[in-house]
Symmetry: C2
Subunit: 406 residues, 2 copies
């Protein structure tokens, strides 16, 4: 497996585009993105667990109920959520795609991100669609444009692709993402679109995605708030020519590894680019009795405001780590817990068997002043492990989310 | 019932004191507090649910297992948590009280708040104890000194007392509290000590306290982090001369009302004085199918970092309220939810039946610029209600908690 260029255009038969159509006032900001497969593709998606769901999610769920899709249309600047005409507008978006390119409306995945509770005017989308379609291309630039089109408060473009082999055939998988940081003026969304030319049945594709996110996107937290519009969608058009994966065989395992490379990369990108973040935090829990315990502990620590603020301040405040473990609800033996901090600058042990040990504050500060920090938690009670990703809590998070909407 | 002065010294037979003994370097900061009842009192307490528990909690639980206590000793500056000799030191604290005043060591409630994972040196406490005991007095000033002695990052002293009548006898109940804001350099604690001269059996006292906190202290959130040392303790010495409350009769109901007045007041004080807070937030949920749903929704909203940051910015961002309801896990019908904001400056409706309604941004800004804000959520599905209290998320929260410990 090797990392390659091209993002969502890395896989055979996929083209993309991103343009400014006028949903956003800033004319230099692309606000409409399209991903298109030459042929109908196996499709799978996972959605936010929030009871308040964006209309595009409902429409997408309906459209890919048959396991097939051929295009993704996504706008930024308006989430099309909590609107009376939301479904109608989301359907209209897919119809507009179908009117401009050879695809059935029911084969279009629809997504929106931005303000909620404000009507999404279909006009700029209708006007911009011919331009968007005319810009479709299979190039690195085209994938970048699509990635830009879905960005909101993201400060870094998020894109990755890898090449891998299934049954002797070279396959490609690539993805773009927008961060889970919450948008000014309302909430935003984590959106991830993945394309691959591997041949895999819709059922196995859904299984692969649903399984993968348990240890990837479901283990990312920027601020504990679960958006209304989160969606991860994947299209597999089979153009690599491998024997279609229809069961959990070696090919499936290889596909899972490639998919996981894409998703872990995007998770880290999303966490590190959380709103106002200056640092990517990884919490690696080992020695747990069950995987569930490891996950619960990792998420509790990565979500702790106190821990996040301490990391912002490069403060080796292991007491907050222990505290977050203690209230996580996980059944752990506190007297067996070891805690260390690690980064490019080295590793420092701070807690052994649930009690503090002497350490150099200077050395700790050096370790914690890096941009990527791992907190290692050994629970001393078993063999299971888990990882979670997040970011520090900073002045800028408060600034971004405390600003007046007007 | 009427509000009176005197805090923990308002009830007959209770005296208090607070001194600087040297746990903290700042000599102007009291760091040791004592509350004393002339006669042994019924005692009850509730403790943090965090698996990581301060040693003083373990000792206190043991001491009041018989339902009786006569004194409370509490230091600030060190939480005596995650220390190998924690229990020993906490026991020593009660022995020191017993050596200096007429009380059995086993009748002393012990509490500590401050840094965790650093040994608590007993020396300053031993040296300071004679002074502390000599300062014991039943006066408004003495209660203030005790309240000061338990403060950490609190910016406001928290104290209240009321007079009420049980079975024709005038009774008093009063309390002091320290905030649940998290202390520099480590975590802090919510501590509440309540005294009353009402006569009530230990069992009924525990029942009253355990019942009350479900709707009061358990509904307060400053930052979602549950401290290791939280404790609410109450002493009832019976000196008011009422017939001892031993069952759920009218007297018990009257006592519960008085207790609830004390606890709600202290909850609001604690929430409004959360670290870095500029505003007290109250979330009042009505129309819930069950009380559990109402509570889950209220807590989810009050804990949302996005909502808290929006309130800091006086931004009527009702989408974040709906979002927090949606991911709360409560089974609600989103299309029936109404949301309003209310303060001294007025009330503004922002969401009706799960969808936004037009409102004046200027008027909303006025409403949200007040120091105390209520978000009203009507779920439209039943008769149950609940309240939760919290505070806004500010630059100062990050500053206080992100600073280097050194």
């Amino acid at each position: 497996m090797k990392i390659i260029e091209g993002g969502v255009c890395a896989a055979k038969g996929f083209s993309a585009a991103g343009v400014h159509c006028g949903i956003r006032r800033n004319k230099t900001k692309r606000d409409l993105a399209l991903i298109y497969s030459e042929v109908p593709a196996s499709a799978a998606a996972v959605y936010t667990t929030n009871l308040v769901k964006g209309a595009p999610l409902t429409v997408t769920k309906h459209h890919i109920a048959d396991g097939v899709a051929q295009a993704v249309i996504c706008n930024s600047g308006n989430a099309n959520t909590c609107n009376a005409d939301g479904i109608e507008v989301a359907e209209k978006m897919s119809e507009l795609v179908a009117q401009n390119i050879d695809v059935r409306p029911n084969d279009v995945i629809v997504a929106s991100t931005g303000v909620i509770g404000q009507k999404l005017d279909i006009t700029p989308i209708a006007v911009g669609m011919p331009l968007l379609v005319s810009e479709l291309a299979q190039s690195c630039e085209a994938s970048v444009h699509a990635a830009e089109g879905i960005m909101t408060t993201d400060t870094v473009l998020k894109e990755i692709a890898v090449e891998f082999t299934v049954g002797g055939k070279v396959c490609h998988i690539g993805g773009i993402a927008k961060g889970s940081g919450m948008i000014h003026p309302n909430m935003a969304t984590m959106l991830v679109f993945i394309t691959t030319d591997a041949a895999i049945s819709p059922a196995m594709l859904q299984k692969a995605l649903s399984g993968d996110i348990q240890n990837t996107f479901n283990m990312v937290s920027v601020d504990g708030d679960t958006s209304t519009n989160d969606m991860v969608a994947i299209l597999a058009n089979g153009m690599a020519g491998n024997e279609t994966i229809t069961e959990e065989n070696e090919d499936y395992a290889e596909f899972m590894r490639a998919l996981n490379t894409i998703t872990v990369y995007l998770c880290r990108k999303i966490a590190g680019d959380g709103e106002g973040a200056t640092k990517l935090l990884e919490c690696a829990v080992s020695g747990a009795r069950t995987e569930e315990i490891a996950k619960t502990v990792a998420k509790s620590v990565i979500c702790s405001s106190l821990f996040k603020a301490a990391m912002f301040g490069a403060d080796a405040n292991w007491g907050r780590v222990l505290c977050a473990i203690g209230y996580s609800g996980a059944d752990v033996d506190v007297t067996k817990i070891d805690v260390s901090f690690e980064s490019k600058a080295g590793r420092i042990d701070v807690c052994l068997g649930g009690a503090g040990i002497p350490f150099s504050e200077e050395e700790a500060k050096e370790v914690l002043s890096e941009k990527e920090i791992t907190v290692l938690i050994e629970l001393g009670s078993g063999e299971e492990s888990a990882k979670a990703w997040g970011c520090d809590l900073t002045y800028d998070y408060v600034k971004i989310n405390g600003d007046y909407r007007t």
